[in-house]
Amino acid sequence: MTKLTRRGALTLLGASGLPLPALAQSGDPINIGVMLPLSGGSAIAGREVIQGVQLAFEEGSKDGALGRKLEMITEDDEGSPTKGVTAVRKLIERDRVPVVVGTYVSGVALAATRIAREQNIPMVSAGSTAVTVTDDNTPGNPWFFRGFPGSDLQGQFSGEDIVRTLQKRRVAIIHDNSNYGTTLADQINRVVTESGGTVISRESYNAGEQDFSPLLTRLRSQRPDAVYIGGLVSDGANIVRQAADVGLRTQFVGSGSMMTDSFITLTGAASEGFAVSSMFEPEGPNPVGNEFAARFRARFGGVNPSVHQALGFDAMTIALAALKRAGKPDGTAIQAVLKQGMPDVKLVLGPPGTVAVFDAKGSINFRIGMAQVRNGKRAFVDPPRQQ
């Protein structure tokens, strides 16, 4: 309660323009900014990401950094660009954060990073996959960093895997109307056709839609070899469950967001054989990922981390490592470290040996694998090898 009042009072002071006591004096903690959708429609993902962020922060902030304590300041952007712009300005100016971990919705990340870049504050993506955000970077001098490939590459790999690894020719695509779903669908459409398959239909839905039975009933009459779903985990689970209800039996392939154990719990028997694009498996070939999964289970009551928690962990790990290397809590110095890359910072995402070295546009482009559910457990079909 005291904390709440104090913060409220500080904000009031700030908004009213009265001079604030300098917050970032030496001896004061260094604040690390986190920005995620914690309410609204994207909260389901945002609240998973933040668990990973939190674990990375707890582990990485034990001894402080640069002789000072570390504090994590979290802002809820509600998945809205205007709210996001306000949140990022608050983090940078009120809390004096030298680096921001965030955010999940790509449209919000884009709006926020333009503000952050002006203030010379780098951002590390906590889930936004759209290439529009990294494409907004000046090549060679990025301010927005993403520790995993964009959704264009995810679509590329999934498309290839559907035709080559899973050996499916006639593919139907279902995707939500979000940026994420649409990009993936575009890519799958192109790659499947190029790899010698045929896309027999393409349908969209609004994120959060409940009843998929008409769509799936029609798909049943088209007899696809595989159905690709580009969208969020709850919608994907609804689709796979309802497919069983309408008697559509085929190979379902899900986008990366469906890589979570809760998908299997929610869909039950219908999940058998389900394939999903996977950047991370708790028991995959990447030893760093395995160790993270073990620590995560210990910290969060035995629950296996999903891709969201894993990427949140990586994002905060990258931000803290860059801060420590930069030698001062300064955005420009941190960006210089990130730009140069940190080959000794190993990531939990990606194949074994994935490290925090970014390309000219601020992305890490590793091979994304495909996992499949067998007897209620997910495992890589063809594990991505060492880079």
């Binding site: 349908e203 959060g208 039975s213 008409p214 009933t217 029609r218 009459s221 985990v233 929610l266």
Partner: protein, 294 residues
């Protein structure tokens, strides 16, 4: 029977299942409006909380499905009383916009409270008979779907009997027709208001529980169902219960056929476009009589 026709019947069957839920949610909404003049924006949240109540009763407390139903009914009753105390009693005599804002605030508060209590992860009601298939001619439905129109029909018939033959039902109808006159004849307005809210809440909560085995439940699940219920209420004529029943089924089937033949992306557009057209041409709704109520 040609495969085309079989497919068509299957779409219609799916539409009726979805429409049944619209009916249950919309009846309460139209009742609250017709009798009390309150526009309840938090109605979708009744559905959401009913679903969660059933899931918690079954999966956390291990109750059987019938006991879970009792829990849902109890939760619904409490919810109905609270909502009446928040949305109706203190705002009586003010115009409907106040109740719109107030219920909007209630919806925001309930959604975020649900997010806090139940977490963001979607949940599902599991039962033993979930996947037993039911075949009616060429139409194939899993048991948990097939049971929905049947349960809806039972609930609607019960409700109809209550409305027709009990003292409470008669006072409700009297209030809907002429509040002032009803009061003169000794109808207790406050009692009627509470009963109305409880009935509306029970119907929506039962709908939520029925659907929680078919669709995933999450804190914002009420948004869309609430909007759909509004669509149904308008199409059926505001305050018109029988209109809501017909319009709910109609919307369910129309959406299923749109999704099947015109493209899935258009299904929501069709409903709302229909609303605007209907309001412009027949403001009293498709099934309403042309009476302007003051």
């Amino acid at each position: 029977m040609s495969p085309e026709l079989e497919l068509f019947l299957q779409y219609v069957a799916n539409g009726i299942v979805a429409g049944s839920v619209y009916v249950l949610v919309a009846i309460g909404l139209t009742l609250i409006f017709g009798i009390l003049g309150v526009v309840n924006f938090a109605h979708g949240e009744f559905y959401m909380l009913g679903a969660y109540a059933g899931i918690v009763a079954v999966s956390t407390f291990g109750l059987s499905i019938w006991w879970a139903l009792a829990v849902v009914l109890a939760v619904a009753a409490v919810l109905g009383v609270i909502t009446e105390l928040v949305l109706h009693r203190p705002l009586r005599g003010h115009d409907a916009v106040n109740s719109i804002i107030s219920s909007f605030g209630l919806a925001v508060a309930l959604q975020n409270a649900a997010l806090l209590v139940f977490g963001p992860q979607p949940k599902l009601l599991r039962t033993d008979w979930s996947n037993v298939p039911v075949e009616i001619g060429p139409v194939f439905l899993p048991m948990q779907r097939a049971v929905i129109p049947v349960a809806t029909a039972a609930v609607v018939i019960c409700f109809h009997l209550v409305l027709r033959y009990t003292w409470t039902g008669r006072s409700l109808r009297a209030m809907a027709q002429h509040a002032g006159l009803a009061r003169l004849c000794g109808v207790g307005v406050e009692r009627v208001a509470i009963v109305t809210f409880i009935i509306a809440s029970v119907l929506a909560c039962v709908a939520g529980m029925l659907m929680s085995g078919v669709f995933l439940v999450h804190p914002v699940v009420g948004n869309m169902i609430g909007l759909k219920a509004f669509t149904v209420v308008i199409l059926g004529g505001m305050g018109n219960v029988h209109g809501a029943v017909a319009a709910g089924l109609l919307l369910g089937v129309a959406e299923a056929l749109t999704a099947a033949y015109l493209g899935n992306g258009l299904r929501d557009v069709v409903g709302f476009a229909l609303v605007i057209v209907v309001l412009l041409l027949r403001p009293q709704g498709l099934f309403g009589r042309s009476v302007e109520r003051s």
